[in-house]
């Protein structure tokens, strides 16, 4: 009785943690392998513990450049796609206008298009327009395929949001922009954050479309893909693990800091 009650109260959280475990499982393998000294370039089996990979995470030529480049591209593409996508989501949820369904198709199609098709046909466009491929063509491509994901995610949050709060803000002298900035944005923020996270991970992880539009620029997934042809250097595992850890650390710290700030506020009284 006691136990079943306990379970009934917490099973959702327990399942959630199990699913997170499932999501993290390969990362654990990757993390373990980051401490491995492989028996050969072609072996992924755990062989011998070593810290060498962590000591020299950039030992493999160009790998860290590729990581940095991927982060840069991911960052720019995320910001641009999130802004563009959020604007579109607002237009679609908050306004009735001619051509809505056309716009909806335009948003769904990129998701429905095989990556390869998207990659090659975009490349054809760049070539026929004489645009040299490289960093910025990658950014353009990434923004293009991230926008749809952002729109759909933000819309999910926006749909059915309580308009009365925005009305109250307008009533309290907040212009459209201020209402957006002070009320709508904070309330939609979880959706926008989720969309941005999606966009970043899409961008950071994309190989196919990037590969076609990269010219001679190499991103991290391209590097890994290439390296895989002859055995992945163990430092790739270091980068994988580190990216994961850094993401967790940043968020962990920021939520801790947020809490401390709030506590300080409480002591200082309203500010």
């Amino acid at each position: 009785m006691r136990l079943s009650r306990w379970l009934a109260d917490r099973w959702v959280m327990i399942v959630a943690l199990l699913v997170l475990g499932y999501l993290a499982l390969p990362i654990l393998v990757v993390a373990a392998l980051s401490f491995n000294r492989p028996s050969s370039r072609l072996s992924y089996d755990f062989n011998e513990f070593t810290l060498d990979n962590w000591r020299q995470p950039c030992a493999t030529s160009d790998m860290c450049d590729a990581v940095v480049r991927s982060v840069q591209i991911g960052f720019i593409a995320t910001v641009v796609a999130t802004v563009l996508g959020t604007l579109m989501a607002f237009a679609l949820v908050r306004h009735r206008f001619r051509g809505r369904s056309g716009i909806n198709v335009l948003i769904f199609l990129p998701m429905a298009t095989p990556e390869l098709v998207m990659g090659t046909s975009l490349l054809a466009l760049f070539v026929s327009a004489g645009v040299p491929q490289g960093f910025w063509t990658i950014v353009i491509a990434h923004v293009m395929f991230c926008v749809s994901f952002v729109v759909v995610t933000v819309k999910a949050r926006l749909a059915g949001m309580d308009r009365r709060l925005e009305e109250a803000a307008m009533d309290l002298y907040a212009s459209e922009w201020q209402t957006f900035r002070r009320i709508t944005l904070p309330l939609v923020l979880p959706g926008i954050v989720a969309a941005a996270l999606l966009a970043f991970s899409l961008s950071f992880d994309d190989f196919i479309i990037t590969n076609f539009n990269a010219g001679t620029t190499v991103t991290f997934p391209m590097y890994v893909w290439g390296a895989a042809q002859r055995g992945i250097p163990p430092q790739v595992n270091v980068i994988g693990t580190a990216m994961f850890a850094v993401a967790l650390l940043l968020v962990g710290l920021s939520s801790l800091r947020g809490r401390r700030a709030r506590r300080a506020n409480l002591l200082a009284g309203p500010s």
């Binding site: 028996s39 370039r41 493999t60 160009d62 070539v127 076609f212 001679t216 390296a227 055995g231």
Partner: protein
């Protein structure tokens, strides 16, 4: 009315300029880990660095060729439009080199500028059908496609037929998704010549393959990714490449490369200067440099593929006598006699055979 123009280029129609006189630069695109690196500092590439020091030519080395088809897709738009690919040297496998040459996308080198090639290229790689004068595509490394097995999980393997039928191997076999390698071995196993076969013979071999796929004997078709699986034993036996298998044998001698008596496939990855590359002269300097036996030996000692440079074996003795004696790096006559180069295909044949093969391998 609005179709596409052909991608075919002619020497006259697509003229490239050589700025090597003024620009000491070279963009070299190669496969990953196809270049020797320093044991202690993996960011250093000794042979390449030496070239840079010697000539003062700044080499931008990128490892952005992972797959022949993929790379072709990546540069075909530019080359078809007679635009620069921003690369001065690219390295591609025979059949892809043949295709590009056929399409008129590759610049001819000046034989006078690459004397080492003329002097040191392995005889068996001389005057291949797609480059009769040895001045368009120069082998970087060569290799063999044959059988391999992991002795920890299965008993010895000798023939292609065993691979395709032995019940204990069921579901533990892979073959290469590279049509010429897999089909070459199968043609050979049927007693046909991969260098010269008929459409009917091809179909016979393909049927044999199809049976093995349908029965579940063959688990999948792979690129290089079979190697870790073979090492682990998830795959017991496969069609694979010599270089990879030598690597694995070094770790675990029970992993073996087998050259079946019915024949092995010999291929090369070739250096080429694409149209509109502006540093042909510098490229020639580099190609010539890598055909110095000492340099070639240094490279071969690292990458473990078949070294296409005569005299490198002697140099290798100085570096690593054991490697110098390895027939899979410096093949002996016995092996060379078994090795075949796949028949040159024209565009139509290529499409037809590739189409049929892809149907069997599932895509």
């Amino acid at each position: 009315g609005c179709g596409t123009k052909g991608a075919q280029q002619t020497e006259a129609g697509c003229v490239s300029e050589d700025l090597s006189g003024t620009e000491k630069k070279l963009a070299f695109a190669n496969w990953p880990q196809y270049m020797d690196v320093d044991d202690t500092d993996e960011s250093k590439r000794p042979s390449l660095d030496e070239f840079i020091t010697k000539t003062g030519i700044q080499v931008t080395y990128t490892e952005d060729i992972n797959d022949n088809n993929e790379f072709f897709g990546k540069v075909q738009n530019q080359l078809a439009a007679c635009q620069s690919t921003d690369r001065d040297i690219i390295v591609l496998t025979d059949w892809m080199a043949a295709r590009m040459i056929r399409l008129g996308w590759i610049q001819k080198l000046d034989p006078a500028k690459i004397p080492n090639v003329q002097a040191n290229l392995l005889p068996s790689l001389l005057n291949r059908p797609f480059d009769a004068e040895n001045r368009i595509s120069i082998p970087w490394q060569s290799g063999l496609a044959g059988l391999a097995y992991n002795g920890n999980v299965t008993k010895e393997l000798r023939t292609v037929d065993e691979l395709l039928t032995r019940p204990d191997l069921k579901g533990k076999v892979t073959a290469l998704s590279e049509m010429r390698d897999t089909m070459g071995l199968l043609l050979g196993s049927n007693g046909h010549d991969p260098a010269n076969f008929t459409a009917a013979q091809f179909d016979d071999a393909l049927n044999k393959l199809k049976k093995a796929v349908d029965s579940g004997q063959i688990r999948k078709f792979t690129g290089n990714d079979y190697a870790p699986d073979l090492a682990k034993g998830d795959i017991a036996a496969c069609i694979g490449w010599s270089g990879d298998v030598i690597q694995l044998s070094g770790e675990d001698e029970k992993v073996r490369f087998v050259a079946p008596d019915s024949g092995v496939m010999l291929y090369s990855d070739n250096m080429m200067v694409p149209n509109k590359a502006t540093h042909k002269g510098n490229a020639e300097a580099l190609i010539n440099y890598y055909y110095e036996p000492a340099v070639a030996a240094k490279l071969a000692a690292y990458v473990n593929y078949i070294c296409p440079v005569k005299g490198a074996q002697a140099e290798m003795e100085k570096i690593d006598p054991e490697l110098a004696a390895n027939p899979l790096i410096f093949p002996d006559e016995a092996l060379l006699s078994k090795s075949k180069v796949f028949m040159a295909l024209d565009e139509k044949q290529e499409k037809e055979y590739e189409g049929k093969f892809q149907q069997v391998i599932g895509a």
